[in-house]
């Protein structure tokens, strides 16, 4: 592979990584507070659909993005209500959310947009003039979508928030030792609901990135498993937002590279390339370096003793 191909693969890998990154960041915060949401795939689908629907109706991808965030919050809260208030099993509620999201988005698409092709006013890639045309760094660093920079900044901001701020301490306490946190006067259920809603909102943004930045349009089941890969990224990063950034990037760039290698080496069966990102994910999971231990109370509802 020559330099041009490598640069293009990295730029494309960043685009691949972004929907996964947003979803993984939201899930990290949610899981830190003890709420496991395996349904982010469904929330991303709703986000992708709402972003398309509302940006078509208003002509602005930004309003579409807001709609995706609102939809994400609504579904995140629904999941939170099920598992925090009603204390339903978190996996069960999450899986229900996957099905709900797939069904609602597909049905809504047929209902509202007649299931047909529509012109979607999507986000444009950033053009910083001279900067965007620099060799190597131009395509990689200076001509991504605006949302991509937001995602990367958010990873660092959330990392700082979880480690260094009182809010982060509260969230971690709720996920690790809720009894102690409750004794210190923290409303466990309220914090968990907020974190579930936050997780939902970021999954919504991930879906919106897919349907209005990376592409311009909605098709049924377009998230295609990215929500589950985001879940893997959370574990792989050991529940660290900056780690999730690198996990998502590794996955995205591996995917972009395999896409290019397929065309470069037509004699090798294409399946060998398609599994590449997944092999990397599997290897990373089994890497030594501290057992992956999640928040102690992950997946367990809090009952006042």
């Amino acid at each position: 592979m020559d330099q041009v191909v490598v640069v293009a693969a990295i730029a494309s890998g960043i685009r691949f990584a972004m929907p996964i990154l947003f979803a993984a960041l939201g899930e990290t915060v949610s899981e830190k507070a003890g709420v496991l949401n395996v349904g982010i795939e469904g929330i991303m689908l709703i986000g992708a659909f709402l972003a398309v629907l509302i940006s078509v109706q208003t002509g602005s991808p930004w309003v579409g993005l807001l709609a995706a965030i609102a939809g994400g919050i609504a579904l995140g809260l629904l999941h939170g209500w099920m598992v925090v208030v009603l204390k339903v099993d978190q996996i069960v509620s999450g899986i229900a959310l996957v099905v709900l999201g797939a069904g609602l988005s597909g049905f809504g698409y047929r209902l509202a947009l007649d299931g047909g092709a529509v012109r979607v006013p999507g986000f444009r890639q950033l053009d910083l003039g001279l900067l965007s045309h620099l060799p190597v760094v131009g395509p990689v660093l200076f001509s991504q979508h605006f949302l991509a920079y937001v995602g990367i900044a958010l990873a660092f901001a959330l990392g700082f928030m979880l480690r260094r701020t009182g809010l982060g301490l509260t969230i971690r306490a709720v996920g690790e030792t809720p009894e102690a946190a409750a004794a210190a006067g923290i409303e466990i259920d309220r914090v968990r609901l907020c974190c579930a809603a936050f997780g939902g909102s970021l999954a919504g943004i991930g879906g919106a990135f897919l349907s209005t930045a990376q592409l311009a349009g909605f098709v049924e089941n377009m998230v295609s498993g990215r929500g589950f890969i985001a879940l893997a990224c959370v574990v792989f990063s050991r529940w660290r937002p900056v780690g999730a950034l690198f996990a998502a990037l590794a996955f995205g760039i591996a995917d972009a590279a395999q896409v290019r290698m397929q065309a470069l080496y037509p004699d090798i069966p294409y399946q060998a390339f398609i599994i590449l990102p997944f092999v990397i994910a599997l290897l990373a999971m089994t890497m030594p370096g501290g057992a992956a231990r999640g928040p102690a109370q992950l997946g367990r509802p809090f009952r006042r003793g």
Partner: protein, 319 residues
């Protein structure tokens, strides 16, 4: 007669009535699709075909979408048990399950699209000549390409897509022997984003005309081509409106013709348990017109070349 024997004979009579061949009544037709009717290609085409058939024939239609491989047997038998007269399954993956169960339901016609299977007394298949559709697409792509590099992005390499892909390369080489043909697979029929990124990667490698086969992934290819300002050849389903400045033309695979022919033959009693392959002559494949700015882009010489290609396809001289 005891109550019991009355009940039994009533039941027997009822069974005889039910088992009577369903003549001159509304035909019950089921269409089983592997994807969603909104995919804009493969499944949309079948849905369009069954809608047209519904207007034309006296039939009751049930459409079942998104049937994945694990559900096939269950869906097939449930329609057969409901005494559907015709069960059309849309995709080669249905061939094997159909062969497994067809003998148990001799009253029902099982029709498999995009496969070549047949069995007495009630299995027939309708396949389109995907290889020649690809051939036509390849010839047009090579003609309008300036870089001499063209690309094909397939969803998953199922038989019809591999046929199309091979035909695409042959058609291009026929028109311009030094054309470079790139090919990649998405590994999914619904991952539009990956379809778009793969297309972008082929464009980066010099392709200035791309084509794509599959379901939703095709939308990704067209969007990526539009964004990069290169040309695309549509496949199967005429999707010109999706990107009128990008889609030069479409190598049509008219799956609605399969459905129309199949039902027509069931109704007039001429359907045989055999596999029908629909080519250019039957209207099973075709070439969409060059519209908009592409009407003027095709020179007289180009048009002559295309006419030659079509004539060879008709004559079966493309291998």
């Amino acid at each position: 007669m005891s109550i019991r024997s009355i009940a039994l004979s009533a039941l027997a009579t009822a069974m005889i009535i039910c088992a009577q061949p369903a003549m001159a009544k509304t035909l019950k037709v089921a269409l089983i699709l592997p994807g969603s009717i909104t995919d804009g290609t493969f499944n949309s085409a079948a849905n369009k075909g069954i809608k047209a058939a519904k207007a034309k024939y006296d039939i009751d239609v049930s459409v079942r979408e998104n049937v994945d491989v694990a559900q096939i047997a269950e869906v097939l038998t449930s329609y057969a048990r409901d005494h559907y007269d015709v069960i059309i399954s849309h995709g080669f993956q249905f061939a094997e399950p159909v062969m497994d169960i067809h003998a148990d339901y001799p009253e029902t016609w099982f029709i498999v699209n995009t496969a070549q299977v047949a069995a007495e007394p009630n299995v027939a298949s309708f396949d389109n000549d995907w290889g020649n559709a690809g051939y036509i697409a390849g010839a047009v792509a090579a003609l309008v390409s300036k870089t001499g590099t063209i690309g094909h992005v397939g969803g998953i390499p199922v038989p019809v897509i591999e046929d199309y892909n091979a035909g695409f390369a042959r058609g291009a080489k026929r028109v311009k022997p030094d054309t470079k043909i790139l090919s990649s697979y998405v590994g999914s029929f619904s991952d539009v984003a990956k379809g778009a990124e793969i297309t972008t990667s082929l464009i980066e490698q010099g392709a200035d005309v791309v084509t794509s086969t599959g379901n939703e992934n095709v939308v990704g290819t067209i969007q990526a081509a539009e964004k990069a300002g290169v040309l695309a050849i549509g496949s199967a389903f005429d999707s010109y409106e999706l990107a009128p400045d990008t889609i030069v033309t479409t190598a049509l695979v008219n799956m609605n013709v399969n459905i129309d022919l199949a039902l027509g033959r069931v109704i007039d009693g001429t359907l045989k348990p055999q596999s029908y392959v629909l080519g250019l002559a039957d209207g099973g494949i075709g070439l969409a017109p060059f519209r908009g700015r592409f009407a003027g882009l095709i020179s007289t010489e180009d048009q002559a070349v295309i006419n030659g290609v079509m004539a060879d396809v008709l004559a079966g001289k493309t291998h």
